[in-house]
């Protein structure tokens, strides 16, 4: 749990990140969250887990492994999500000027720590 708490804390401190959640992959229930402004943690968790699941299906159709990281770029920023520890999904919502490299690095490090 300490790794999870540290992850959302770490993600939320990256400049430009509006919020971060870690959720159970199976049902999208929030395990830990750190939200800066106006973000609904429950909704973000549900959306991130669902997006990871949908991308997994596309990957299977293409004969590839499920994604280790998913990045959704939109007009107002970017959502970055990745499975961590097999049963969890980490997700951060970032403004257009955020350092996405740091966000990705934090998720990748937690994937390594919880592998």
């Amino acid at each position: 749990m300490a790794v999870i708490t540290a992850l959302v804390d770490h993600l939320s401190r990256v400049p430009g990140v509006r919020g971060a959640v870690v959720a159970a992959r199976r049902d999208g229930i929030v395990v830990a969250e750190a939200l800066h402004e106006g973000l609904d943690g429950d909704a973000l968790a549900a959306l991130a887990t669902s997006l990871i699941e949908r991308c997994g299906r596309v990957a299977r159709a293409a004969g590839r492994e499920p994604p280790a990281m998913v990045q959704l770029r939109a007009t107002g920023g970017t959502l970055v999500a990745g499975p961590v520890g097999g049963e969890l999904v980490a997700c951060a919502v970032a403004a257009p000027d955020a350092n996405l490299g740091l966000v990705r690095l934090a998720i990748a490090e937690s994937q390594g720590a919880l592998a």
């Binding site: 549900a46 004969g63 998913v70 770029r73």
Partner: protein, 259 residues
């Protein structure tokens, strides 16, 4: 949980015979909560065994679960119960198209359009079936990546209903994967649009997934189409993005030229 899901759940709890299971099951399916959607749909079918819409819902969930034969059975039951059920005819039309049975696909899509003539997805699918039957569309029209530096990637152009418009992507073993990818990509694109909208990020522009086997990306190509681009392991993300953006611009013009 959204307000709608709460409302339908409460309505169903208060009256288990309510037809609220139909919008509830569909909402859960669209959220990717297939187990929950499946339970709602099964319960609905048990309580309303003569309701075609219940089988239509069941079929859509089965397609999402990858059980197309099961979905076909459910849609056939829906048609038996209600021969003018547009959703069931449309579903059977799509399945027949994917299976390469163009006469059956055309028949079902024509019946769907007879009931819902304004359904753009069914109209596009029927046009595609007719083109394939006429031999002017082999299902894999060439769509080349326009950027030489991205020649190691593969591109697929699909419509928003999950049908291939052009291009092809192959699995590592060489099998054609376009139809299967297109079917799943439509759902992923809807989920991407929903996630971007509900998190206040606006309109989605690019979806990137990275994993063993290499990155793949999806991007809107105008209002009606999506581009899917798959790259080999080791392809830098920035380079893939440039190539996908070029492919999407190219595909958008290509789709407009086909109209």
């Amino acid at each position: 949980m959204s307000d709608d899901v709460r409302r339908w759940t409460a309505e169903l709890a208060a009256d288990p015979d309510s037809r609220a299971f139909l919008p509830l099951g569909e909402a859960l399916r669209r959220r990717g909560l297939l187990e929950a959607a499946w339970k709602v749909a099964r319960s609905g079918v048990a309580r309303h065994p003569a309701l075609a819409g219940a089988y239509d819902l069941l079929a859509r969930i089965l397609v999402d679960r990858g059980d197309e034969p099961g979905a076909a059975d459910a849609w056939r039951t829906a048609v038996r119960l209600d021969p003018s059920h547009a959703g069931a005819h449309k579903g059977l039309g799509f399945l027949a198209f994917r299976a390469g049975d163009d006469p059956l696909a055309a028949s079902h899509l024509e019946q769907a359009l007879a009931v819902q003539p304004d359904d753009p997805g069914a109209a596009r699918a029927l046009a595609r079936v007719r083109a394939r039957r006429a031999g002017v569309d082999d299902g894999a029209a060439p769509v080349a990546l326009p950027a030489p530096e991205a020649s190691d990637g593969e591109v697929l152009v699909v419509d928003r209903e999950g049908l291939v418009l052009g291009g092809e992507v192959r699995q590592p073993g060489g099998e054609r994967a376009g139809e299967a990818i297109a079917a799943q990509l439509a759902g992923a694109a809807r989920e991407a649009a929903r996630a971007a909208r509900l998190t206040g990020l606006g309109d989605w522009q690019l979806l990137t997934a990275e994993g063993a086997g290499g990155p793949w990306q999806a991007m809107p190509a105008g209002e009606e189409a999506l581009v899917f681009a798959a790259y080999p392991d080791g392809c830098p993300g920035g380079r893939a993005t440039l190539a996908t953006e070029r492919a999407a611009r190219f595909a958008r013009r290509w789709v407009e030229a086909m109209r």
